[in-house]
Symmetry: C2
Subunit: 436 residues, 2 copies
């Protein structure tokens, strides 16, 4: 079992014997941030860790749009949290929702039990936000969970099936209209993938409709797509989306969504397949005393990612508002989550050893987004790439991460193979109800 020295945190004179008694760390959330934090404690038997998550699996969210468009199975992008820590006896995994956190008493309350902590890492992530219009949700599911992804898949595939049997041409066209709200990476990837499958995989399977005539709209309220990317790359992405047949509307505000369609600015677009990728807000946690949050519900943290006045409480990932410079918050991307999760865990180890905690510094490795198949855009440091080269880079990076994560290189090779040859293995319309 590796000692703390192996992590480069302990100085050579220190040993684990100096750090007893056993400290108790609770990690709420097993997304990228929580899971990577927990991994730092794996095999350090003198730290007892409780990981709490409302799902029994860790989800590789960047590929969720692939599940929504029938390219991957749910199990391809999810691993049981428990299975990550089989050999780390100091790590307990709980399938539970956090109900309340008492910062003074240092207790996390779940539905049927309390867990006390010496250190707490809050990594509960974010969910979709409808900007105060929660009544839109039934008509426009977001894409944050596996359940939402299979629901979107069900809606897309059912739309084509229903259109096939519809004799009224106007209704057929409405059924084959897909509107994605939000021009960030998720919205662009989802719109691109819908356009892509309707023009490739589904093309020859129908007799009475031409799936390639499906209308795919991408609606963004801001003045351009992908605001986190440089302007020239975003323009390239917009061109690639248009080549795929996606109608891109920027500066277009969604004003209403109901069962009949979407009001975009002055225009009403009749459609039944609407997907929401327009806004997120941090998970709402009940904390005693209440903590300071920004308008998106993200918790304001100090430079070392702790809460003011509570140096034993860390907030990481999408839940945290890390101020890069005054007024500028780090984006809610997986790299920030992974790095901040690890950093918080390492700060806890430093604190246990009586060392000063270090500020969190995000190392920006860049970002990428795919546009349909064969196209992507990427920024890596000062390098900007686009088109096929960027897509190959995207594939390489995601396969690399997924392999590390699934530990099954052969499954990933298969995915690349079937992805490259336009097979969509998981075109299943499954229903929410199981009973007959």
């Amino acid at each position: 079992m590796p000692a703390l020295e192996g992590l480069g945190i302990l100085c050579p004179m220190q040993t684990m014997a100096d750090v007893k008694p056993r400290k108790r760390v609770v990690i709420a959330g097993a997304g990228f941030a929580g899971l990577n934090a927990a991994k730092v404690f794996a095999d350090l038997p003198d730290v007892k860790v409780d990981v709490i998550d409302q799902h029994n699996y860790h989800l590789f969210q960047p590929l969720l749009y692939q599940v929504a468009t029938a390219g991957l199975n749910p199990a391809d992008i999810a691993v049981p949290i428990r299975a990550q820590f089989t050999k780390s006896e100091n790590i307990d995994v709980h399938l539970a929702s956090v109900q309340k956190i008492d910062l003074e008493k240092k207790i996390v309350t779940c539905a049927s039990y309390d867990i006390p902590y010496d250190y707490l890492i809050l990594a509960c992530g974010a969910q979709h936000s409808y900007f105060g219009h929660d009544e839109w949700e039934p008509y426009a599911p977001g894409l944050k969970t596996l359940e939402q992804a299979t629901e979107i898949r069900r809606r897309i595939l059912t739309a084509f099936e229903t259109a096939e049997d519809e004799t009224n041409v106007k209704k057929q066209q409405i059924l084959m209209t897909f509107l994605v709200a939000g021009g960030g990476p998720t919205g662009c990837e989802l719109a691109g993938a819908i356009a892509d499958i309707s023009r490739t995989v589904l093309l020859k399977d129908f007799r009475h409709i031409d799936p390639s005539h499906a209308r795919v709209l991408l609606v963004e309220g801001g003045k351009r797509l992908l605001p986190s990317f440089p302007e020239d790359l975003a323009q390239r992405a917009e061109q690639d989306l248009k080549k795929l047949g996606v109608e891109v509307r920027t500066g277009a505000m969604v004003k209403r969504i109901d069962a009949e369609g979407v009001q975009v600015g002055d225009e009403f677009i009749p459609c039944q397949c609407v997907f929401w990728a327009a806004g997120v807000e941090a998970a709402r946690l009940k904390m005693e005393p209440p903590v300071d949050m920004d308008k998106n519900g993200r918790i304001r943290v100090q430079k070392d990612s702790t809460l003011p006045y509570y140096p034993e409480v860390f907030v990481v990932g999408d839940l945290a508002a890390f101020e890069k410079e005054p007024g500028k918050i780090l984006p809610g991307v997986s790299a920030v989550a992974i790095q901040s999760g690890r950093h918080a865990a390492e700060n806890i180890l430093r604190s246990i050893l009586g060392e000063p905690m270090l500020p969190f510094q995000y190392f920006d490795k860049g970002q990428m987004a795919t546009i349909g198949k064969n196209h992507a855009i990427a920024v890596i440091g000062k390098l900007k790439i686009s088109g096929y080269v960027a897509w190959v880079a995207w594939l390489f990076v995601h396969v690399f991460y997924l392999v590390g994560f699934k530990n099954r290189i052969e499954v990933m090779l298969l995915w690349v193979w079937s992805y490259a040859f336009s097979k969509r293995g998981s075109r299943l319309i499954t229903k929410p109800e199981w009973h007959t």
Copy 2:
């Protein structure tokens, strides 16, 4: 495009020109029977075929218990029906439920349209029957659909998760009690697989429970397990189940199932994970005029598998009561479904050509059932095998069928690989609700 001659049905003098005008065949149901019937008509452009199913996929039901026990993904055992007939322009696939059949007017009514037919093949299969106790269903899902399989998977995995966080030992034991009602192949396979995963895959992932202490009960009302198998093989299966740790109760009647547990004979067994594999009944179809059915809802057919008085209507698969000899009905297994589906389609071709229809003769290739991993029993003609050899035979047969059906030999090899090494890739607890 092959002519009818290629099927050995047309005599050399006949050509397709003799069989016009185009005949319309409707196939209700795309299980083993319906799909294999439809395949007979593929690429015979002078016969127009409409396939109706309530799912968009064909399901390989014999491996459903593998989905229920996290060994396979839903998509591994399902293929889109449409994708089977991409190149057969004469075959239309409809995602719809059959509402009514008018035998006199020759019309099948679906929710939003009618389909007229010249020939009709009814292949709607069977569903679970609770012997008049439908109130048991919420507590004891059956295993006939993908939704039921993922629900069973959710219940099994959630039971272990809840037990892990339960401090009351008695409640823990109740949570870890699994009861399977019904000692046919499905019940034996499901009970064996639950025992197997609790003693292998799940074994080391928990800290506060020992999954190998899970109690798995298999309850059968009849005097022995697997009544369709020879007695010595059934005894061997019972021994193998007991070795896996399954408590086998034969001659034990389920008298009540509720949220607290199951009344088996005089004993009440407290448990929350109950699965139903005890009885099936044929799908109930509304037919005008009503037809003659046996007590399990199976439609009585003539020797050529047509309805009395309606020589253009065929009933096949689990929906049909084929009398092998007086009082003896062919079992509801996939081999009967496949053969009867094909035979009905070939009889239709004979009828179109003005030839006499042939009686349906079932060629019994044998049957097999797995017991956990590494054990199975099989009857092939007069040959009876059991144990590891039978299991390898079982694996070979299922891989062979699945490969033909998924057309993805590499996926199957992977499955064999991960199955052989006790990996369970799809241990996901997904919920029925998608909204947040």
